[in-house]
Amino acid sequence: MDASAAIAELTDISPQVRRVVAVAADGSLLGANVADDVAHALADGGLRLAETADAVRAERQLPPVAQLEAATRTGSVFVVRDGGRTIVATTTPEPTVGLVFYDLKTCLRAIDDPEPEPKRPRRRTAAKKADDAA
């Protein structure tokens, strides 16, 4: 499933989820349900949140985070990591935490790997061509 379809399905089944962005292992965007600039800001912020959370856990000699929820009065931010990928989402206040984590993980796993760039045929060099002609 492509990222847009997976995210559309997620927001369909989980109305508490508002803004979503899925990020590949190399930091590139896999998909989002918001404009590009907002998606980049959400992805950067979510990754920074996860890195800061890792640092907090490391200070206590604990392993890094696999998922987190930051709950505020205006809503929650969720970050879920799975297989190198990350999904960042915002929700309405007081979401059903377990369900949101489950839906985010399902969405992330449903996203296919992006198609690799087709390999260009190698161009023969002029020297090689001259050799062949001789």
């Binding site: 800001a41 959400l42 912020g45 979510g46 920074r48 949140l49 800061t52 959370a53 907090v56 856990r57 206590r60 604990l62 392993p63 890094p64 985070v65 696999a66 998922q67 987190l68 929820e69 930051a70 709950a71 505020t72 009065r73 205006t74 809503g75 929650s76 931010v77 960042v88 915002t90 206040p93 007081e94 935490v97």
Partner: protein
């Protein structure tokens, strides 16, 4: 109104007010800001609002919720 009815009414009112205050307290507790960090092994570290670590993380989260 007979005395027994007044006693029952009073007890019902008291029970209702206790239940109501418990509900309000529980909702208020759920509204508290916090950060829950889960590891791969299922362990969880909950940082309550007011701790320096929670403030750092909640600050980042608030930026994303604007």
């Amino acid at each position: 109104m007979p005395r027994s009815s007044r006693v029952v009414t009073g007890m019902l009112l008291a029970a209702g007010s206790v239940a109501g205050s418990l509900l309000v307290r529980r909702r208020a507790a759920r509204r508290r800001e916090r950060v829950d960090l889960y590891a791969e092994d299922g362990s969880m570290l909950s940082l309550a609002d007011g701790t320096p670590e929670a403030e750092r993380l909640l600050g980042l989260a608030r930026e994303l919720l604007v």
